[in-house]
Amino acid sequence: MTSRDTHFVAPIDETPLQATDALKTDQAPLSLWADAWRKLRRRPLFIISSLLILTLIIIALFPSLLSTVPPNDDCQLGNSEAGPAPGHPFGFTFQGCDIYSRVVHGTQASLSVGVLSVLCVVIIGVTIGAIAGYYGGWVDSVLARLSDIFFALPLVLGALVITQLPAFRENKSVWTVVVIIALLAWPQMARMARGAVIEVRNADFVTAARALGVSKVGALLRHVLPNALAPIIVLATLDLGIFIVLEATLSFLGIGLPQSIMSWGNDIAGAQSSIRTKPEIMLYPAAALSITVLSFIMLGDAVRDALDPKSRQR
């Protein structure tokens, strides 16, 4: 008898038959968010960036913890562009103000602009994007053209016009910049949200919910949006960093935060005149700005990896 005709059977005790389709019960229940969190907290990128962000938040809330010198008191022109001195580790600006203290106190403006504009952009962008993506048809076309129009709007012009609005002309504040950013940056968020919603809206579980009697709006709110959230969260985190840069850019161009509010952008703009002689005056606020942005971008990157459906177990 050759192997061609033999009938082989594996020893049954070595290949025991297991129950068909038994439920694995060796692990604790794991929601998608819990799963993402479990992956996230092991990533060095996430640990570093979240520690940095935590520190930044504490500095923004309690700047006096790190700097006992009030930033704008005793600015003496005699100290103009002076180097580090005891109690003034970074030296002095052109105006003779303590750089270290200004950098510490500038955190608040940057972070609040970032957080508030992201909130506004998410609210506007996700609402418009979700409606466009979910309902489609002419609603989608109209909203798409609308976002194209805002997309084509030049930043400086928009910023200039908004700062001249009656509400902001006399008292510019953090909110001025927030309104500028929110108005000019929502189209990108809307496009992202639209795409994410379109991807989910035809899923069988949405159809199943509709067949259960869930209303069209109900299905959007309870099934479609929660499942479209992952890319929105990632973009929002990245936007935080980008909006902080945007604020600094606007302040640098002289159409952002007023001089009375301490911000890194204003400090960098002010240091321009000393760039050839004392580049380090610009270095400190620029470094603070870059590190802040880097932390948010690293966080966004880590969150993106953790929420990536391809990396998820089925």
């Binding site: 084509a152 012009l157 161009l253």
Partner: protein
């Protein structure tokens, strides 16, 4: 195909109208009197002011001004700015400069972004990949104006490799430094996009099938992995060219490049309505055309799109 182009151009019309209307309205809403600004501290006679006002239709209501503007646009007559210079002529001066800057920046980001991205994507998780990935995050995090000043200081002033500012006579060499700064930002995005795209197509079924056919590794990489993964990258680069043509206000300001961004910034600060609206209209057109080109390019690269339209 013709139908597809027509449809895209039709879609552009409401965007063009909407954008110009919005921009025109914004300029209209800006405070300050351009005529008064023209004379600086001197107080011109009222008669002169009135003449100028009616010459530029500043005494007409908003809708009439906008209508006149549209009429001019369709007759390709952009008119004069408040100093009497034809707007078309000043646009013809600034756009070539920005175009040069944009092309140079695009070349830089394409060569380095795609090159590094492909290499990192093929060896995902290796030391090169990790290094490049962190470096790209840093590049994204440093704001353009900080990068601009740093480059200007180090390469322009301290090392003296390039002229720190460009000034009136912009040429390819002069523009290299600002183009590098401009290209670096998108370089990081191009790199990350290429890397993601390459490592995704590496796992595609058709790549495994190509290997199973007995093709050599280099052939599989070039004909099947790269050819497919460059489609989204090319799309991004095309869209980015549209953005770059809009002029980089910050970079152009730091390096004193006489380009579109600078012109728009100056015009905005001086409330020169006609100039602003003209530039923005041209920009929207450039944007629409760039998007159209990207779509055509996309259709050329991906046969599936070609036949759907």
């Amino acid at each position: 195909m013709v139908r597809f182009i027509l449809r895209r151009l039709l879609q552009a019309i409401p965007v063009l109208l909407g954008t110009t209307l919005l921009v025109y309205y914004m300029v209209f809403a800006l405070p300050g009197d351009p005529i008064a600004a023209l004379f600086g501290d001197r107080q011109p006679p009222q008669a002169v002011i009135d003449t100028l006002r009616s010459q530029y239709h500043l005494d007409e209501p908003f809708w009439v001004q906008y209508g006149l503007f549209l009429q001019n646009i369709f007759t390709f007559n952009l008119g004069n700015d408040f100093t009497g210079q034809p707007i078309a002529a000043s646009l013809a001066r600034v756009f070539p400069v920005t175009a040069m800057l944009a092309i140079e920046a695009l070349a830089i980001q394409t060569v380095f972004g795609v090159g590094f991205g492909v290499f990192a994507g093929l060896r995902r998780g290796g030391w090169f990949d990790s290094t490049v990935l962190v470096a790209s995050l840093v590049v994204i995090a440093v704001p353009t104006f900080v990068l601009g000043f740093a480059f200007q200081l180090v390469f322009g002033v301290q090392l003296g490799w390039a002229k720190p500012t460009v000034g009136a006579n912009a040429d390819w060499g002069n523009l290299l430094l600002p183009a590098t700064v401009l290209g670096l930002v998108s370089f990081a995005y191009v790199l990350r996009l290429t890397r993601a795209s390459v490592s995704e197509s590496m796992n595609a079924d058709y790549v495994r099938t190509a290997t199973a056919k007995g093709l050599s590794r280099p052939r599989v990489v070039v004909a099947h992995i790269l050819r497919n993964s460059l489609i989204p990258v090319v799309t991004f680069l095309g869209a980015d060219l549209g953005g770059l043509m809009g002029g980089a206000i910050v970079t152009e300001a730091i390096f004193n490049v006489p380009g579109v961004g600078n012109k728009l910034y100056q015009a905005t600060l001086r409330t020169e309505g006609p100039t602003i609206v003209s530039i923005v209209s041209v920009l929207v057109l450039v944007f629409v055309v760039a998007n159209l080109l990207v779509d055509l390019l996309y259709a050329w690269l991906d046969p599936r799109i070609r036949y759907d339209q």
